[in-house]
């Protein structure tokens, strides 16, 4: 088996903006605009960026919860956006998604045990007789108790609900899981429990994670490599140590400097970005970041920088690097 599990090539996802009586398309929101990367089996890639940068859309398009606009997503060498529905369905259990909000992603009227077991039965991976046993096993792995099987979602705390979300993905024995902000809604002490659970599961089951987050300190902890997104594009990607020690793109630098460090004795040079993120429906010309970039040159306003390799496995899209 090849070492590469996922290959994303020039992936684009545009959402049409419709207006008027006839709902004509008057433009596009370029949520994901030509992103490319590869992931090796067993690694964790962090996808970071601010709200609206397209990181969740990227995650969803990669496992074909959304249809792509252009580009390819190769999962174990097969383009999942070209598979016929039957083939795709067979592949579904292998690619799972854990959602950010553990409150709205569970049906309040379905018992937790049934919610976890539903997909396994649906995919015919297990008979109805065995299902309870299987769910109990997964509950145990995720740090929940057997008596939780017959409870409803409202009886659980945020951290427990996130465990349920993870259990739901895990029961299908996936190889690849997209984790969409799995710990952002949780308190610090609970967050640490979930992060450790995710690390343990990854080691035990050789899982590959795409970890979507805006919290750089969590990303540094859990990810082996990191991609930084801005307005639909990846502006920089490198291994974790490289990116945190030697950030090259001005946006990455600003993002890193903006994270508050819990040590009152440290005073840092902080790079302040001016203004807000421009609308992805109408991104700036040239380099999309030039409107907020502290070091923008004339060239940045007109010419789109090429995303290129500047060091070993270190890619960046900036004219000034």
């Amino acid at each position: 088996m090849s070492d590469v599990i996922l290959e994303v090539k020039d992936l684009k996802k545009y959402f049409p903006i419709r207006s008027g009586v006839f709902q004509r398309t008057i433009g596009h929101v370029k949520a994901v605009d030509q992103i490319s990367f590869t992931m090796k089996r067993g690694e964790t890639l962090g996808l970071v960026g601010e709200s609206g940068c397209g990181k969740s859309t990227a995650g969803r398009t990669i496992i074909r919860l959304y249809d792509k606009t252009e580009g390819h997503v190769l999962y174990n060498g097969r383009d999942i956006h070209q598979l016929p529905p039957k083939e795709l369905r067979k592949l579904r259990p292998k690619m799972q998604y854990v959602f950010q909000d553990p409150f709205s992603s569970l049906n309040p009227r379905v018992k937790v045990g049934e919610a976890i077991g539903e997909a396994v039965v649906d995919h015919g991976l297990c008979s109805k007789a065995e299902i309870r046993e299987k769910v109990l096993e997964v509950l145990n792995i995720c740090g929940l108790a057997p008596y939780h099987y017959d409870r409803y979602p409202h009886e659980f705390s945020g951290g427990q609900r996130q465990r349920i979300g993870i259990a739901r993905a895990l029961i299908l024995q996936p190889d690849f899981i997209v984790l969409d902000e799995p710990v952002s809604a949780l308190d610090v002490s609970i967050q640490a429990q979930i992060i450790n659970l995710l690390s343990d599961l990854q080691q035990q089951q050789n899982l590959t994670y795409l970890f979507i987050s805006h919290d750089l300190s969590v990303v540094e902890h859990i990810c082996s490599s990191v991609a930084v997104m801005y307005l639909g594009s990846i502006v920089e990607m490198a291994s974790r140590d490289e990116l945190f020690k030697n950030p090259l793109h001005p946006y990455t630098k600003a993002l890193l400097s903006a994270v508050p460090i819990p040590d009152p004795t440290i005073t840092r040079e902080r790079i302040f970005l001016k203004g807000d993120i421009p609308s992805p429906a109408n991104p700036p010309q040239g380099c999309k970041f030039h409107t907020r970039c502290p070091v923008a040159a004339d060239r940045c306003r007109t010419e789109v920088p090429v995303y290129r390799e500047v060091g070993p496995e270190h890619h960046v899209a900036c004219h000034l690097v």
Binding site: Q160, V188, S189, A258, V259, D263, P264, T265, R270
Partner: protein
């Protein structure tokens, strides 16, 4: 040391629900000095917001009720004055900004109207003077094109801009105390950095006190002079910010600091505090943290430790530092 502006004395705010009494704030005492930033830290449900709402007397009753204690603001007990007197203080001497800039602005009024409202209510300015002042305020909070922005509606602004408008509203009457309840939680990090910088700057220029409620220890380290750590409705530790981070005393504070991943200090495994926050209904006489505490002793399960002086300007509520636990 400068004078005390606000003093909470044994504040108790309870909520009477069908399921039982929630002791949201249970015997909380601490003070805020003039010109000082005090951060209230704790996890969801620990009572930090309710403490602030009690100070503003904004607790919905029923189900909530302030059942005991005093809140002294410049020596006056805010819990004893008449509602009409409280109205003169609220928004005028004490102002508050909330977590959700999306839902705390009125969507059908322009931001200008909303900034002018407290000015017209609390000062003797005419409408046109108030408008001039509002434009100044919008400029002060770092929004360009203030003369145009004043006539826009909240939905036309981004999250960061809305929070700036909230800050402008709160500053309109030059308050002595600004309460900021998770002001940056809903914002992105680069915007958070802007807003925190703005708050720091404004506080310095105006010599206000700032009561900052947050769960983010990074924000605490950056902003606070003094830190109050709450757990299950009680203050469990308080002290100057450097002391809290360098030498945390309570096991919960230690746990919180260890559980947070920090950039540049990567560990193989994060420290975790086992279990979860106890149900706020029917809390017993034990130390509320004893179920999760690695140092729990018999006495912790039997009775509650009091908040005791510990060091020059710090206090801690833990049996490890008194009685038989003290070494």
């Amino acid at each position: 040391m400068s004078s005390t502006l606000v003093e909470f004395r044994n504040l108790k705010t309870y909520f009477y629900t069908e399921a039982g009494v929630v002791q949201a704030v249970n015997d909380v005492s601490f003070s805020i000095r003039a010109g000082e930033t005090v951060c209230i830290v704790g996890e969801s449900g620990c009572g930090k917001s309710i403490t602030a709402m009690s100070l503003m007397r904004l607790i919905a009753s029923p189900p909530g009720k302030i059942v005991g204690g005093e809140i002294l603001f410049e020596g006056r007990d805010l819990l004893k004055i008449k509602e009409s007197e409280m109205r003169m203080i609220r928004g005028n001497e004490i102002a508050m900004i909330f977590q959700e800039p999306m839902t705390s602005l009125n969507p059908v009024l322009t931001v200008g109207d909303q900034i002018m409202e407290p000015l017209i209510e609390h000062t003797l300015l005419s409408k046109s003077e108030a408008r001039k002042k509002a434009i100044q305020l919008i400029e002060q909070v770092g929004i360009p094109r203030a003369d145009q922005i004043i006539d826009s509606y909240p939905h036309e602004l981004s999250g960061g801009m809305r929070q700036r408008i909230m800050i402008a509203i709160s500053l309109s009457c030059d308050p002595k105390l600004l309460i900021a309840d998770e002001p940056t939680t809903a914002l992105d990090v680069t915007i958070q950095a802007q807003i925190l910088d703005l708050l720091r700057q404004l506080k310095k220029d105006r010599n206000m006190s700032l009561m900052l409620i947050t769960h983010d220890l990074g924000v605490v380290a950056e902003m606070a002079d003094y830190v109050v750590v709450m757990y299950a409705g009680k203050v469990i530790e308080e002290g100057p910010v450097k002391e809290i981070f360098k030498n945390p005393r309570h096991p919960y504070t230690k746990g919180l600091l260890l559980a947070k991943p920090v950039i540049g200090q990567r560990k193989e495994r994060l420290f975790t505090i086992p279990g979860q926050v106890p149900n706020p209904i029917g809390l017993g006489e034990n130390c509320h943290y004893s179920d999760r505490c690695e140092h729990a002793m018999d006495i912790c399960r039997a009775s509650q430790p009091a908040l005791q002086k510990d060091g020059a300007d710090s206090k801690v509520a833990c049996w490890l530092y008194e009685g038989e636990g003290a070494k």
